[in-house]
């Protein structure tokens, strides 16, 4: 940002402002507005208000609900503002104010930067600070784009299982999941081999672990935030085909245009309605994928381990267990703008420092402001 003296120089309207004519008054008013908009004082006042609002609001929100921030991180910001913030009003008022102040701050920064380019574009001095401004503007633009267009989802996958990620037009398959343990036997990391499908063909694949997610474009699959082992399928005895194995994403033809597949599982200790885990929800479908019948089979006391499904006798054999993980998938279309912005911002700090130390040719000490 430049000082007021330079801003006054830019407008060059001092004489016109005072000539008393209508156009002179208008130009004077516009010049004044421009001065205020590009003044560092405007930015500083907005910054102070932003800091006070965020500081007080963040502490109050924490004391109202210590998990407030964790819940907020589950959504892209735009979605949170649309769906959650109105329900929380007036407790969310400070976030509405924060958004308004953020946009005002960005407008102030943008105008300051434009002013610099209009007035001093041929001067090396001060370029570092302008790069910092530009970088920050790009970061903010990236944040706005990511918040508006981004998506987040969570998929639970057992080893071998393939699932669609709703809204992102892709499917994930977990090929393998290994738990890395410390020498003391404490789990410290996971290694997950993931395949990503788009239109039923492999789009990308890779191994992910902590700090090394699978990234392609603006979409990222993160290591599982929760994992364990549990029931993922089992052996089912049928009256028409003998024993068949049901597992995640796998259906078995019974002949006569009918298939048997797994509708879901309950783990030990889990309960849904009258169903008690562990157990399998078995589905019988016709050739068009329409449901003919379903049943829940479980070895738990009081639960059925066999049933009749539209003339097919099904009996639960043994349950199979495997490792599963809960994977987060994020899409953020603004992230590359943010990364380019951080690089420019970082370079700007180096340039500014060099200018401050007088390293740059033609730039004396103390140029940083």
């Amino acid at each position: 940002m430049e000082n007021d003296k330079r801003n006054r120089g830019f407008t060059g309207s001092g004489s016109l402002a005072g000539d008393g004519s209508g156009s002179g008054r208008l130009r004077g008013a516009l010049a004044g507005l421009w001065r205020v908009s590009t003044s560092p004082v405007t930015f500083v006042v907005l910054t102070i208000l932003w800091c006070v609002d965020l500081g007080a609001g963040s502490v109050a929100a924490y004391f109202n609900d210590p998990k407030f921030w964790v819940k907020m991180d589950l959504y892209p910001f735009n979605l949170w503002m649309k769906q959650v913030a109105p329900r929380m009003f007036p407790q969310s008022l400070w976030i509405y104010i924060l958004v308004i102040l953020s946009y005002l701050m960005i407008a102030s920064l943008l105008l300051c930067t434009v002013n610099w380019f209009l007035r001093r574009r041929k001067m090396i001095k001060g370029l570092g600070e302008v790069l910092v401004h530009l970088g920050f503007l790009m970061i903010f633009a990236g944040f706005v784009i990511g918040s508006a267009l981004g998506a987040r989802d969570q998929v639970t996958l057992a080893v071998g299982q393939k699932k669609d990620v709703p809204g992102m037009g892709l499917s994930l398959q977990l090929e393998d999941l290994k738990i890395v343990q410390s020498p003391q036997g404490r789990p410290v990391d996971t290694l997950s081999d993931i395949k990503v499908y788009r239109d039923n063909s492999i789009f990308t694949e890779g191994r992910i672990r902590t700090n090394h997610p699978l990234i392609w474009g603006s979409t990222v699959v993160y290591p599982p935030e929760d994992y364990g082992s549990g029931v993922t399928g089992g052996v089912i005895g049928t009256s028409v085909r003998g024993a068949v194995i049901l597992g995640p994403g796998r259906s078995v033809s019974l002949g006569g245009d009918r298939t048997l597949s797994l509708g879901g599982v309950l783990q030990r200790g889990q309960r849904r309605g009258r169903a008690v885990g562990p157990g399998l929800l078995v589905l019988l479908k016709d050739g068009a994928g329409r449901l003919i019948d379903s049943t829940y089979l479980s070895p738990a006391p009081g639960m059925r381990a066999e049933d009749d499904m539209a003339g097919v006798r099904v009996t639960l054999g043994e349950l199979s267990e495997s490792t599963y993980g809960v994977f987060r998938v994020h899409r953020d279309q603004g992230v590359w703008l943010v990364i380019v912005g951080t690089v420019i911002l970082g370079l700007g700090t180096l340039w500014a420092r060099a200018g401050y130390l007088g390293v740059l040719p033609g730039v004396g000490e103390g140029s940083g402001s």
């Binding site: 940002m1 560092p40 921030w69 672990r209 951080t342 911002l345």
Partner: protein
Amino acid sequence: MESTTLALHTSSLVFYGVSLGVYFVTRATRALPQKIAVWPALAGLFCQLVLLLIRWKAGDHLPVTGLFETQQFLALWVIIAALYFAFRYWAYNFFPAAVGLAIAALVFASRGPMAVTPLTPAIDTPLFLIHIATSFAAYGLFGVAALVGVYRLMGWSGSPINAERRMIDESIYLGYILFTWAMIAGSLWAYLAWGSYWTWRIKGLWSWILWFYYSGVLHVRNRSGWHGWPLDILAIVGFVLTLFTYLGLGLLFKTSHPLL
């Protein structure tokens, strides 16, 4: 390793204590120049640097994890800044304040475990090391700026050539640049590890408050009306904010950046 750490840590504390003692004795007696207080401080700095290198080699990573190492790093930067000011601006009168701050950081460091521990996968990334190293270097420089602010407010002479304004500028400017890098590295790390470069967590939010605060300070520091006591107050308030962001949040809230 722990005995070596303890020996070097204690030695640096003793040397800094001696430096303070020498300063006050020479000031009272005027028998010797006050600048000789720099030499014990240089010995203390040497001990700290040796400790840093030994722990770096033992742990195979820059030792900036945990309370002990981060406070050591903060003290290191405070001493380096004080020595730089002493040699460049003859700021020997400012020396005891900076050494006092370094001693406070080292005493606080003593509360943390001194064992060298391997990095867990979550923090085994250069981004983490850059994030922490630059954060604590910036904290140290913001502390130095606040001390210079106190000197100016109280009317004490820190430098015989009246370079206090220059000292406050340099501390805030370099501190801000380092803190910017800390924010950049932290955000990239958060993106790779947790899925977003921006998280709505109280530590991150207050770090942004701190960054914007010093952005504001940089914007007003050269404006007329802000050269004198307002800038000193801003530097002091900035360090109070820094302490709250680092210590206050760690003690009062359950954060993503635990203190111990």
